[in-house]
């Protein structure tokens, strides 16, 4: 046990060094709450990289997050930390990044090995962890929709009703998916089968699907426009 404690100490030192290095590149947290668009002013001329996703709701570049010169934006429930400026590309400093990553990996293993003696490690982590996730709509799926949408959208959606594996299925697969297509670049509306968080599951068009521009949610419907065609997931 002393050996693992020592390893944990050494690894934690590495972790702290890595954290200090990472702190020099600016880390900005930007969060879409209530599924609403949010912009966070930054000087993004040096590039932006999503460094840590905080929400289970999807963070998809140029759909639910993005940036331009002076801001990062998030939408549709995406919450994340972003690294702004230095090392925002994958090529530069890749060796260093991998070395640091290896240290983190070792640290994580060591922490796990000792965490049963050290419960306070975890207590204050993740204050921001997707607090909206349990706020009702995953629990309240309404079976009355089953018959109605089964007949109307039979060819268009798949049912992932794996509730026998417990909460929201075994591991985060959508409850339902359904397809919605903008033909001839025209707007189209599609009913959402059931309740839950909607996001794009598979984009099937070459035209981009970007939330707020070529797709969105209004009430119990999804709209698509400008040639966006996608399979949507209901979580």
């Amino acid at each position: 046990m002393s050996r693992s404690t020592m390893l944990a100490t050494i690894s934690l030192s590495g972790l702290l060094l890595f954290a200090a290095a990472a702190a020099q590149a600016s880390i900005v947290t930007c969060e879409s709450t209530n599924n609403e668009y949010r912009s966070c002013p930054v000087d993004a001329s040096g590039g932006v990289r999503l460094s840590q996703q905080l929400s289970t709701k999807g963070c998809w570049e140029n759909d639910t997050w993005g940036y331009d010169r002076n801001k990062i934006w998030v939408d549709r429930g995406c919450r994340a930390q972003f690294q702004v400026g230095a090392q925002s590309t994958n090529s530069a400093g890749k060796g260093d990044a991998l070395a640091a990553a290896a240290v983190v990996g070792i640290a994580a293993a060591a922490i796990i090995a000792s965490s049963k003696h050290d419960d306070h490690h975890n207590k204050n982590q993740n204050k921001n962890y997707n607090n909206s996730y349990n706020n009702g709509y995953n629990y309240n799926y309404d079976n009355r929709y089953d018959g109605r949408y089964d007949s109307r959208y039979n060819d268009n959606y798949r049912n992932y009703d794996n509730s026998r594996y417990g909460y929201n299925g075994y591991g985060g697969d959508p409850r339902r998916t359904f397809t919605c297509e903008s033909r001839n670049d025209k707007r189209n509306y599609c009913g959402i089968p059931g309740r839950g968080h909607v996001e794009i599951y598979k984009q099937r068009s070459s035209n981009p699907c970007r939330h707020g521009h070529s797709w969105g949610v209004e009430g119990n419907s999804v709209w698509v426009d400008d040639g966006c065609r996608a399979e949507f997931a209901v979580y």
Binding site: L50, Q52, Q53, S55, T56, G58, C59, W60, E61, N90, K94, L98, A101, A102, V104, G105, I106, A108, A109, I111, I112, A113, S115, K116, H121, N122, Q125, N126, Y129, N130, N131, Y133, N134, N162, Y165, G166, Y167, N168, G169, Y170, G171, G172, D173, I200, Y201, K202, Q203, R204, Y235
Partner: protein
Amino acid sequence: MTARHSLIAAAVLLAAVAASAAESPPASKPVDTAQAMLDRMDRNLDGKISFEEYRNAMVRRFGARDVNDDGVLQGDEFPKEWLAGAAVEGATGKVSFEQFTAELPLVFDGFDADKDGQLNAAEIAAFAAARKTQEESRS
């Protein structure tokens, strides 16, 4: 990957394709876990898995398990099957969101042999095979 034997990495690896095992009838084994990974993760349908696709699928998976929404999987939430083969099942019985997400790029990069930021068909196959090996070593 041989240099890294992190338990969480093992858990992440298993979590990536665990659904196919769980959603099949108990008697049948998943026949094509590489295809299962593509089915679940390949959002732009290019036959490859980007880190963003991988990250979103894995974070959502963690969230689905975290019933009490405290950012830590433990007790009934703790996915013992994710640690299959790691020989430490039940040793600690918890994993935090930070620990989990910190492993994601490590595991991903470990299988991204050509370092292009995407897992292609061969790399996905290697991932699925590694996961299968790990599951089969479950004690």
